[in-house]
Amino acid sequence: MLSNLLQRFAGTPDEVLRKIQMGGLVRSARLVSNVLGNPPPDADEMPEWIEEILMAATRRICRYDDEAMPDPEDCGSLEATKTFMDGMPPQTQLEFQSLMVLLEVSPYVFGPVAGRFTQLDGKQQDQVLKGWETASLVPKRTGFRAIKSVVMMGYWSRPETWPAIGYSIHDNPGVPSPQKNHWKQREEPADG
């Protein structure tokens, strides 16, 4: 199996992760991008292939099997995620994109099967994410936390998701009229 071969040459998964940390997240991601023949992380504009990784992760993290909770693609989740990220310093954006690159290739090292994250089936992607979420290594857990925070901000800041949890801005009696009217327009399609 490819992961066994990788271990022989690069060390155990924990050792690989430490080396990646030592080498620097962004440098590692640039290297991986080159190996894959893809453009590296770019703070000015997220390369399309990294957007696809982010969207793939979003689909699994926000896969709720609940009719009241819309599909992330239908509610503009990715656009909101990008708006949120645009306000971060360029270096932070680069690091986040680098994290996505490492998520893409992490199955080669950590399993469950050797392959790119975006090419795994949903169940396998969930296994990868669970592995990051519950890892004994703090850097993997912090990586998951960062991805989850950004993805959740993108999804749950969309008014289309709010009816499922009883949240509304335009129904809030303390919100002044201009903002209330603005949010009424945004929330109404979801209400209907």
């Binding site: 699994r60 949120f84 306000g87 800041s157 499922a164 949240y167 903002q179």
Partner: protein, 516 residues
Amino acid sequence: MADDEPQQLPDGMEQVPAGDEPVEYDTEVVVVGLGAGGGMALHQLAEAGVDVIGVEMGGYYGPEEMTLAEEQMMPRLFAEGGARATADMAINIMQGKGVGGSTVHNTNLCKRLPQPILDRWENNGVEGLGDQLQDDFAAVEQMLNVHPIPDDRINANNQMLLRGIAELGYQGGGLSYNRRLCRASGFCELGCPNDGKENATRALILPALDEGAQVLVRVRIDEILHEEGRAVGVAGVALDAETGRARREVVIRAESVVLAASATGSASLALKSGLPDPHGLVGRRLHIHPGAFVMGIFDEEIEGWLGVPQSAECTEFLEYGEDADQRVWMVTGFTHPGTSAGLMPGFGPAHGAMMRLYPNVAAIITMLHDETSGAVRPGEGERLHIHYSLQQDDYAQMALGMREAARILFAAGAREVMLPLSPPRLVSSMSEAASLSVGDLGPLNPPMIAVHPMSTMWMGEDPESSVVDSYGGYHHLDGLFVADGSLFPSSIGGPPQIPIYTMGRRVARRVVDRLG
């Protein structure tokens, strides 16, 4: 909505236009950072007739520009777009950015420094902590309209806390805040759309402009200029509002520099500037009041996003002395869906099921009056390196706080409590929660958030063991003053805004005296 329109700045406030040549200003005093301390210093200096320029890295947002959209307001109002964290990423540091600093997005809790903290500081060589300081507290409270939070403003989440502590006979009760036009929208932490807060912007900075102060927004100061043992100004870059990238050099020459860029920003700037620091103290002793959210699930609807977010506290486990056995401050906490979803455990369908319970969740933040000392080092641009690893004693305090928060939630009627461990532990009885021990905790376990950085340029009269004197004057550079939470010689175990405002007033008075 206003976010699509060109921004109108108040008279006296300007954004430096792009250009190839550096732009230069001359003034008597430059204030770097316009949060509680800097806002107060700017106001007091302007009122005293001093020629003063305030510089702020972030933008200015009036109430009509508070869009209430989390994904927009978080990056606008928080340092590093809300992504600031300790170097190991284990603790999120939520700090303000922009005119008004953290006072624009805080929950306006107001407390004076408790006497045991003042005693501790006095024992550590700080002078002038008696009647004059109490007079300054009183003056600040009057300026900011500080008053007890009315009973009809205590929302269901806070009523839960009061109910729980009453049931258990624990110490605590209602708090005070500084609001005037509040309509209880619950959007304090994303910027009040009603201009309901008497924050630094409304109460101090805009009035300072009327008194003749000048404010430069979106200017990042990268260096404190100093020559022959005295501060002579600051230098930095004007930032593009859209991209955040540098677009022009800015130099401000001044007789005095007031550093008020927060306990992380001020220390980082001092280190980056190569200020004399013969004992290597600057940037050390960082305290942050790390906190964790413990959530209770109730049968009744709490709807914690509605109303004043924080109005009650539990002080049963909060002692202030140097050898305190218990150092946990508990207050309620609540966030809007985008942030809450990140705090809820898991992902996928299990997470969705937890989100369905959002209206029925009440939350307590268990916050440490920390003895752990961290350190701040400069980073690139807005970014900093914040090194802070919780020491074992503080983990024990966190375990105590999480157990007691669970006890309060159960006493208030919660049917289940979520202990924010990794993986999260959902418990349905106090006996299950009581088994939580310090051995269960470690880095990122629980995930923590900190909103009160302090103590990186602490006061004292001894230049060998403190960074600034008792009135903020830097020991080793004439004309440089510090006026923010950096000054605190220890953690304070409570909301820092009133102490910071008060120190800003005290430092400004010293600057005026020095100018003659």
